[in-house]
Symmetry: C2
Subunit: 121 residues, 2 copies
Amino acid sequence: MTAIKESSTIQENKQYALEKCPVTFVMEKIGGYWKPIILYHLSTGDKRYSELKRAIPAVTEKMLIQHLKQLEADGLVIREAKPVVPPFVTYKLSSAGTGLLPVIDAMASWAFKMKDGVYNM
Amino acid sequence: MTAIKESSTIQENKQYALEKCPVTFVMEKIGGYWKPIILYHLSTGDKRYSELKRAIPAVTEKMLIQHLKQLEADGLVIREAKPVVPPFVTYKLSSAGTGLLPVIDAMASWAFKMKDGVYNM
DNA sequence: ACAAGTACTTACCCTAAAGTATGTATTATG
DNA sequence: CATAATACATACTTTAGGGTAAGTACTTGT
């Protein structure tokens, strides 16, 4: 992960937005490019790291693990590792992560309406 | 023979994600840093450009106008300009933009639950 | 001996998004 | 005449995020 510069305006703005805007708070958590996709794949049940990798072929390993770590740090997913070799690691949604599913659903619903031209008038 | 530069992976991935993932489709529309905030402010009624500027003091004019233009191009907001001087321009949500409000609400609801510790168990 | 599978890690690079600073057109008003 | 107000536009710089490529540790199978 790259170090963040605390003094930058963008960081100050993030502080402002985080305190003032709950939507931005959510964006901070699921705004990463692959995070919604990962969340979606975990919504159908626990997945091993390699299962996620295969389920999302376009994501690079660096991005996958990076986002998984962030999601874990944010308390949205839970990592469980069995002390065996080869490693056996599964990821699943926490209760907070599960609580996000209505958001994901609302998004998907809007996207489908857009594609169906429901809002073209 | 010189090698021809192929299209970047990032663009291919975007194509993949847009087709496969409705959530990413939504992120494309409202993922810009200030867009959710702008949308939120428009949800309470039409606003003049200068009203938005005052309502969101931390945003720069470049970012504000840029995001407004994108939201307009995406059909989420409608711009109305009166041919007077000084200019009088108002922005309001389109039907598609209004259709996004449940998403915003779901996000806000989750954010407040998070802050209230509802998911800490 | 060595390749294969699993779950990462790390160093480096490139680009898109965001920020800074300044300029534009028009008219009313002091 | 100069300033204020409004709604932008634009050249330039910085930063955060994402991508590439390669390596690590450990054990089982051939």
